[in-house]
């Protein structure tokens, strides 16, 4: 027995001679939202397909609850949104979703679900006439069918406008609130930052990071960026503080989180020479770059 909604345990997979998944371990508790980040070809989609049982793995084990990938139980318990999802263009949104509802065996309120994703106007229009964003919404509607234990979303924000993205994250929160573990493979770093409980980063088939954003920041030891604008002489200010002058009037300082207060006190002591201070903590993007691009030594 396990209390994990999804557990991936030392999973490896080869495609030809290349190792596309290398000793991946990851687990999601019910209701947890985890972002899975990585470059194209890092193995995100392959990992998702392994969880779905669509592609065999060489080593290790994957469990959805207690079921193995591809088993009837596992398929009932998982919901999946493929990357750039598409459907048969001749069907209407209602017909497509009705098919999925019947296949999943759930008694679903199809019009209600389509309204939830903002497609109530396009209910009886052919999918062939849908925009990419609308197809993505339809894909999202089928994720909401039944009450999945695990939802796997592959690039769910691709093709969505900013407002739809907000809707998407509201829906993800809803899923998490009903106890579904949500794994989101994404490139949209800034949105993922605020909306997930944990972040996992893959690089070349390996899991290089798996932790909360704060812990990852601390672990990476990425510097905080201080931008100090001089009121008169930027060169003198640069000499005084020991930073780099980045334009005519500003100086940039990098410091560790522990040294942050000390640096601020030094700046404060300069009095009138400083016109403004801007402080930027490390962004997910910096973290991502740190973990995903760091070369193996």
């Amino acid at each position: 027995m396990t209390d994990k909604a999804l557990s991936i345990d030392h999973v490896s997979k080869n495609r030809g001679k290349t190792c596309v998944l290398d000793d991946i371990t990851l687990s999601l508790a019910p209701g947890q939202r985890v972002a899975l980040l990585g470059h194209n070809g890092a193995g995100k989609s392959t990992l998702i397909k392994s969880i779905l049982g669509l592609t065999p793995i060489r080593d290790g084990a994957i469990r959805i609850g207690n079921a193995t990938p591809g088993s009837a139980q596992a398929r009932r318990d998982t919901a999946y949104l493929p990357e750039a999802v598409s459907f048969h263009p001749a069907l209407t949104g209602r017909e497509q979703l009705t098919l999925f509802a019947k296949l999943s065996g759930s008694k679903a309120d199809v019009p209600g679900l389509l309204e939830r994703v903002g497609l109530s106007d396009a209910l009886d229009r052919r999918i062939g006439a849908y925009s990419k964003g609308m197809r993505q919404r339809l894909g999202l509607a089928q994720v909401l069918l039944g009450q999945p234990k695990v939802a796997l979303l592959d690039e769910p924000t691709s093709g969505l406008d900013p407002i739809s993205r907000q809707d998407l994250y509201a829906i993800i929160d809803e899923l998490a609130a009903q106890g579904t573990a949500v794994l989101i493979a994404s490139h949209a770093l800034t949105e993922v930052e605020a909306r997930t409980d944990r972040i996992a980063i893959m690089r070349k088939g390996r899991m290089v990071a798996d932790d909360t954003l704060n812990n990852l920041s601390a672990l990476a030891g990425l510097p905080i960026r201080l931008k100090v604008r001089a009121s008169a002489n930027a060169d003198a200010l640069a000499a005084e503080l020991g930073g780099n002058r980045i334009n005519g009037a500003s100086v940039e300082l990098l410091c560790t989180p522990e040294d942050k207060m000390e640096a601020l006190r030094r700046i404060a002591r300069l009095g009138d020479a400083v016109a403004d201070v801007e402080m930027t903590p490390p962004k997910l993007e910096d973290l991502y770059r740190h973990y995903a691009q760091e070369e193996r030594t």
Partner: protein, 273 residues
């Protein structure tokens, strides 16, 4: 257990919506009518009613058309979903691959059956109206419709097989065209060549009929011809039919759909969306 029916329902909707059903039925009606009128000349000389002649002509038509129509729907069944990227989503649902294939098969077979029944039925009715019909020729018409559906089933299954093996729907379409050419045209030409080379030897006497009946298209022809004397006379092909036991052609035409479906199911198992 009713999940495959949900697939069937959706597939039928698609066939109706993209006009496949309409076009296929129209093709069947037009060709069957044209052949019935064009082939009505020899009624007097052979001493059979017009429906018999019409069935004989339509048998020849069906050998070409039934496999073609079947392959035209089935080549896209798996490869098309892979291309669209919708297969991975479909397979993430509780329906198994066998259920998906069965669901599509039922819908496609129903559509073929509709087109065949309407097409041959219309032409048969017209022939019977103008040139008379008897219980035997009506029987021949029913047999023609049923065996045409069986022949269609064979090529539906073979189409799924190619669709699962091909990389992409375009490749599947090409393979299907090749398959049609081999089974319907080249196979017979090859056999003909072999018979000519053999000059009535052992091959022609004992092996040739069996090799011929192994091809579902030829089995279809033999079954229709052997069963009705009038049709055999009208088509002028009795030799090969007489050299075989009665069950040979029906057995071939009944085994092929099952075999083809099993092969398609095996090939589908290996498809990674």
């Amino acid at each position: 257990m009713t999940r495959f029916l949900a697939i069937t329902r959706t597939e039928m909707l698609i066939l109706r919506r993209n006009r496949w059903l309409l076009v296929a039925t129209l093709i069947m009606v037009l060709f069957a009518l044209a052949l019935t009128f064009a082939g009505s000349a020899p009624t007097g000389t052979l001493g059979v009613d017009m429906l018999t002649v019409s069935v004989a002509s339509m048998t020849t038509l069906s050998v070409y058309l039934a496999p073609l129509l079947a392959l035209m729907i089935s080549f896209d069944a798996i490869a098309g979903d892979v291309d669209r990227g919708s297969l991975s989503l479909l397979l993430s649902y509780p329906a198994g691959r066998g259920e998906i294939l069965l669901g599509k098969f039922c819908a496609h077979l129903a559509a073929l059956a509709f087109a065949m029944t309407v097409g041959f039925g219309t032409a048969g009715a017209v022939a019977a109206f103008f040139g008379g019909a008897g219980p035997e020729s009506l029987m021949a018409l029913v047999r023609l419709i049923l065996t045409s559906i069986l022949l269609g089933a064979v090529f539906l299954a073979l189409g799924y097989l190619l669709s699962a093996l091909a990389r992409g729907a375009t490749a599947a379409a090409g393979l299907s065209a090749g398959l049609w050419l081999v089974f319907v045209v080249l196979y017979d030409l090859g056999l003909l060549g072999a018979v000519v080379m053999d000059k009535g030897g052992a091959f022609t006497q004992s092996v040739f009929p069996w090799v011929m009946v192994a091809n579902p298209a030829d089995a279809f022809r033999l079954w229709n011809i052997a069963a009705t004397e009038g049709v055999a006379m009208a088509s002028g092909m009795t030799g090969a039919a007489q050299a075989l036991p009665v069950w040979a052609a029906p057995a071939s035409l009944l085994i092929w759909p099952v075999l083809g479906f099993a092969l398609a199911r095996l090939a589908f198992r290996r498809v990674e969306p």
